[in-house]
Amino acid sequence: MPSIGLHHYLALSAVVFCIGIYGMLTRRNAIGVLMSVELMFNAANIALVAFGRFVTPQLVTGQVVAAFTIAVAAAEATVALAIVLLIYQHHRGIDVDRINIMKW
Amino acid sequence: MTALIPQSILELDKLVRTIADAIAAVLQGIGLGPAWVTLIQLSIACLVVIAFAAVVVLFLVWWERKISAHIQMRLGPMRVGWHGALQTIADAVKLLQKEDITPTNVDRPIYFWAPILTFVAAVAVYVTIPFGKGLIVSDLNIGILYILSITTFTVIGLLMAGWSSNNKYALLGGFRSAAQVISYEVPMALAIMGVVMFTQTLSMVEIVNQQQSFTHWYIWRQPIGFVVYMIAATAECNRTPFDLPEADSELVAGFVTEYSGMKFAMFFLAEFLNLFSISAIATTLFFGGWQGPFLPSWMWFMIKTLIGVFVLMWVRWTYPRLRVDQLMGFAWRFLLPAAFVNLILTGLLIAVFL
């Protein structure tokens, strides 16, 4: 077992990203899709911090970008969940497959 | 050996150091790497802290009962031990023996983990509290931020309990509690930031070190911050006048309605652990932590913290409960602006005088 390096972190990030993609494609519940998106954001954050740690250890760019990303994700989740609640008031459900007055 | 005991009381930190070194020596003797040694030392320290926390809770429960009794012109527990001092132990034994009922339609895994998570989060805070000079499990350089982030798990525990119980009172209690805790967490964090702006560090030990003498206590420079912190922290641990989540008269007992036996005990423990830790944090941030003359450091820390705990109990047994809309309004309309004002004033102070 070689010591843990950049590629291990990136591989982890890729796995999480793909799990997120899978969830985004298959989840029926709107909140479930949003959770998958959060996984993708986190995958990106792992990659950012890992790159920051191993490629530019003297700068903290990776961490800066990741910190901003966390805030962006928070804002996005807020708006998304507000809209989900609005949808719930209309449909009494948040099943993305049933939300289709318009052809998707 | 006999000489060790008085010395240990006076210089607990040295004793701890000695023991830690001894353990390290033994472990290195087995042939473990330095990282493993540190890890094991930390684990042992955590165990010690958990044991300490248990003792603290036993004491606090008794103390609260006595204080409430005396405020209400009663005597409180008197039978078991001196002035009922052993009453809590008796109660604890009783709680542990009780049947652990799991209602039929609960969401089992969540129901099971909720009290554990709440308890662990409450204990985990103790990792970065400096109980005395050198008496800290781990002096993280993000200490205070670590505490803020760990306490968020309490909310998750409450929500898990409220949801999984499959009971409308529990759900409502969980909702209320979570809403309350996250609302008050904002002004609390902002109040703490006021101190951090002065200290320029997040490390708890550093913060204490900067309050060498009585005049350097941050309460003198952060009076608004202190008040905001104390109010918000009281709300954080769901105590009267902010105990809506458990409002017995409205919600049965809120999120703990369906819990019994050991699991109920864990919520109960967590509540008292939080009570102690908010007072400990206040001591560290605003009252110079373990700094003080004559007495050993850990004793100063305990005295200051217990005074804080006493004040909180005093408040609890004196004031009535708020209404739910007053509660939210207070956090957002009063406490948050106050915290912001404090932050801005602090910034101006630092810009002008430092």
Partner: protein
């Protein structure tokens, strides 16, 4: 095996398993709890990468705000009994194919790509450095993000606030939750 390797493996295992449960659990509430577990694992990874400040921020915002918001939304829109309903759409085979294919491609290209790494020690006191950068080099994104959060706050309020005339009765605290979340994010 040194503790770092062990910790990485344990955390990676935790994150991956939890993520799998997030996307496959039948009960959306369980998904939310597993999401928290996964996010906590990511915070652990940040600690391993010597970014403790970021780890704390991750826990504070992701676990303390975003996940709680998700749980609130789940509580307002689902019931425990929903757990037995169909939880995925008919795209499962496609989804598997796409995500596994993408994973293979990503891992392969990572494998094939030499990335020049620097052996220099990471900067110490990253938290302080981060704070400095926020107000110097990255002041513009820092200002933009505050505008962004303000927009999200107003937007969420506008959307979630009940129309005085709308008859639908949702739970009481739905409207002001996003506001709180935004404030947390600022902190």
């Amino acid at each position: 095996m040194d503790p770092i390797t062990l910790a990485f493996l344990a955390l990676a295992f935790l994150i991956i398993v939890a993520s799998l449960f997030v996307v496959s659990s039948r009960n959306i509430f369980h998904s939310a709890i597993f999401l928290i577990l996964a996010l906590f694992g990511v915070a652990g990874i940040f600690v391993l990468l010597e970014a403790p400040f970021l780890a704390a921020a991750q826990v504070l915002i992701y676990v303390g705000a975003i996940s709680i918001l998700m749980i609130f939304a789940v509580m307002l829109t689902a019931r425990i009994a929903d757990g037995q309903l169909r939880y995925t759409n008919e795209q499962v085979p496609t989804g598997l194919l796409v995500s596994l294919g993408l994973l293979v491609v990503m891992l392969y290209s990572l494998w094939q790509t030499p990335i020049p790494t620097s052996a220099a020690a990471p900067v110490s006191g990253a938290g302080r450095k981060l704070g400095e950068l926020f107000l110097t080099q990255y002041v513009l994104p820092f200002e933009i993000i505050s505008v962004l959060l303000l927009t999200a706050l107003i937007g969420a309020l506008v959307i979630a606030k009940k129309d005085p005339r709308a008859a639908s009765a949702a739970d009481d605290s739905a409207a002001d939750v996003p506001a709180r979340e935004r404030e947390r994010a600022v902190v």
